[in-house]
């Protein structure tokens, strides 16, 4: 099981799912009408490290963080 964590303005509690790669997470979130509109603007981190590959493997206990568009300052 892995945990999906929604940061900043996305009003969504953590979700725990079975996933072996980020592609599995993408497939899961694309089916959710509340979350799918966010997907094209989210950056992704696995265990607090940003990633740019859908093939990134996931292991039991991993935490996938979703980061919506930012504006500091």
């Amino acid at each position: 099981m892995i945990t999906i964590e929604f940061l900043g303005p996305i009003a969504q509690e953590d979700i725990t799912i079975e996933a072996n790669s980020l592609q599995d997470v993408a497939d899961f979130l694309q089916k959710d009408p509340k979350l799918s509109p966010w997907l094209d603007s989210l950056a992704i981190a696995i265990n607090d490290k940003l990633t740019d590959s859908l093939d990134a493997p996931l292991n039991d206990g991993d935490r996938v963080s979703l980061l919506p568009p930012v504006c500091g300052g």
Binding site: L50, T51, P69, C71, G72
Partner: protein, 149 residues
């Protein structure tokens, strides 16, 4: 600590004085601070900020390494929670032996901060906290999960 996260507004007078006191004998020839002040516009009472600190720290550390390679050093303070209009929410500074490196670094650092530091901004209007979506920028690499097989 080179990266400081503070609840509520920053005190530029205290922070800049502290940084100056801590650095002025370190033989940097240039000290360039940037102070962000919340502007009154569109009827806002305040801005409010969420920060994801683990990734902010990684982002800051990678910039500190870039600065170190030029003999320079970065410092930064940012608010979390509410900051009222005309108060300060963000202070960054570069210290460098050389003027040119300092000017280039503060420009590149503040620009990348706006685009890639994991901080989310909300307008506070009549007590309601509204995500500043139009002013926000997707981080580098965003959109990964929208891709199909």
């Amino acid at each position: 600590m080179m990266l400081e996260i503070i609840d509520g507004p920053l005190s530029p007078k205290e922070i800049l004085a502290q940084w100056y006191d801590e650095e002025y004998e370190a033989n940097y020839g240039a000290f360039i601070p940037f102070v962000g002040i919340v502007r009154e516009e569109d009827g806002i009472e305040a801005l409010s900020f969420d920060i994801y600190e683990p990734i902010l720290k990684n982002w800051f550390d990678s910039w500190q390494e870039k600065a170190r390679q030029r003999g320079a050093k970065l410092r930064m303070a940012h608010s979390k929670g509410d900051v009222r209009v005309h108060e300060s929410s963000y202070i960054a500074a570069v210290l460098s032996p050389q003027r040119r490196a300092a000017l280039e670094l503060i420009d590149a650092f503040v620009e990348d901060f706006k685009a890639n530091a994991p901080i989310w901004k909300y307008d506070v209007i009549q007590g309601e906290r509204i995500y500043a979506k139009k002013r926000s920028t997707p981080m580098n690499g965003a959109g990964l999960l929208a891709k199909k097989d």
